[in-house]
């Protein structure tokens, strides 16, 4: 199928392009970037040297079956309706279609939604939850990266008797999650080795967790010494005692139905809990846990590559599902060890 990427000069667009150039079923149509139109992609994404792909402009003609939107939130909205009306399939990696309720959207993003009628048409792009709907839709809202790491860990526990009002989440985030625009705070001497909490409590991805799991969470993201990767630590209060086998069983069943979901809780080896370090470039989400039976508490760990399962990898996974392909087509990436 012929696909285009709108806004391909950013990290998400670049990662998506890396996946698409080696995807067996895909031929590329337009790879747009207004500021770089006419220039070679590898001047921005050096890992794509040798492919000789050029950026084009969104104003040029399209001949695509599916279009990926990798535009900042608020900008996507300007083009979504125009493209949707042409009948083309769309996967929006931005935030404009993630929240079903335009008032909730306004409260988190401070913008009036320009195409609210698309909100209930869009399917939230976590296949592990919405696989059947994704098969039938023409419009997918790719989830936020931190949201993905939280939802993948919490959703399988939705039937447990836990205090759904008191969930504490402490997330550690790689610098690539804030995109390629640089600032004083991203200047190497200031950013290197920092442990910097940013937008605690009011991080936008929280809204997606509540929408998808019904859990009310408090979350604080911390930028740490990492480029790719999200490591999320979730603190749960249980209303009744559970034992390890029960919890592990729940997660194991979930992994049996979802090939990109892995349970990691080992007694041996260096990597006994999930670790984004070894997931780099792969589409896996690894979840583990530690149970404090007496005090009825549990800690759950969740690790992903924010540019893969948290963005481009999930987008290709959604595309595969929309076209009835094997879900891991063009996504058979294994992490590297050591890295």
């Amino acid at each position: 199928m012929k696909v285009s990427i709108i806004g391909a000069s950013g990290y998400t667009g670049g990662e998506l392009l890396r996946l698409l150039v080696n995807h067996p079923e895909v031929t590329l149509d337009r790879i747009t970037s207004e500021s770089n139109a006419g220039s070679f992609v590898h001047m921005i994404h050096p890992n794509l040297r040798g492919f000789n792909i050029k950026f084009s402009s969104i104003k040029e003609s399209f001949d695509s079956d599916l279009v990926f939107f990798c535009l900042p939130h608020g900008v996507s909205m300007d083009y979504l309706r125009e493209f949707y009306d042409t009948g083309v399939k769309i996967i929006d990696l931005g935030a404009d279609l993630r929240l079903k309720d335009k008032d909730v959207y306004k409260s988190w993003y401070g913008l009036d939604h320009k195409c609210p009628e698309l909100l209930e048409k869009a399917v939230y792009g976590i296949p592990e939850i919405h696989r059947e709907e994704i098969k039938k839709t023409k419009l997918v809202a790719n989830p936020g990266c931190i949201a993905t790491s939280m939802i993948m860990a919490l959703y399988p526990l939705r039937h447990l008797n836990i205090d759904k009002e008191r969930i504490v989440i402490d997330s550690k985030i790689g610098s690539s999650a804030s995109g390629d625009s640089f600032s004083a705070s991203s200047h190497h001497p200031e950013r290197s080795r920092a442990i910097r909490c940013y937008s605690p409590i009011y991080h936008r991805h929280i809204a997606e967790v509540e929408q998808e799991t019904g859990f009310k969470v408090t979350m604080a993201p911390h930028a740490i010494e990492m480029v790719r990767g999200i490591f999320t630590t979730i603190y749960l209060f249980l209303n009744q005692p559970y034992d390890e086998k029960e919890i592990r069983g729940i997660y194991r069943d979930f992994s049996e139905n979802n090939k990109f979901f892995r349970v990691v809780k080992q007694k041996k080896g260096i990597y006994r809990h999930p670790d984004p370090k070894i997931l780099t470039g792969s589409n896996f989400c690894e979840v583990g846990f530690e149970l404090d039976r007496e005090n009825r508490r549990m800690i759950v760990f969740s690790a992903i590559d924010n540019l893969m399962k948290g963005a481009a990898g999930a987008a290709v996974q959604n595309m595969n599902i929309m076209y009835g392909l094997e879900e891991d087509t063009g996504l058979k990436y294994i992490g590297y060890h050591p890295i």
Binding site: G38, S39, F40, H42, M43, N52
Partner: protein
């Protein structure tokens, strides 16, 4: 097809027009088409990019 005056890489140009700015795929320099027949490229004036070091 034309040769980049900077690095002598052979560049393919679709429907070239005089005055167009094209980019060399190997060295990334910006080139201006100054004639079509023969197809000749000249290094386009561009400010020296600040390396930031």
């Amino acid at each position: 097809m034309a040769e980049c005056p900077e690095c002598s890489c052979i560049i393919e140009i679709e429907n070239p027009e005089v005055g167009d700015i094209v980019e060399c795929s190997e060295c990334g320099i910006e080139l201006e088409i100054i004639s079509l027949d023969p197809l000749i490229l000249e290094i386009a004036p561009e400010e020296e990019e600040d390396w930031g070091e």
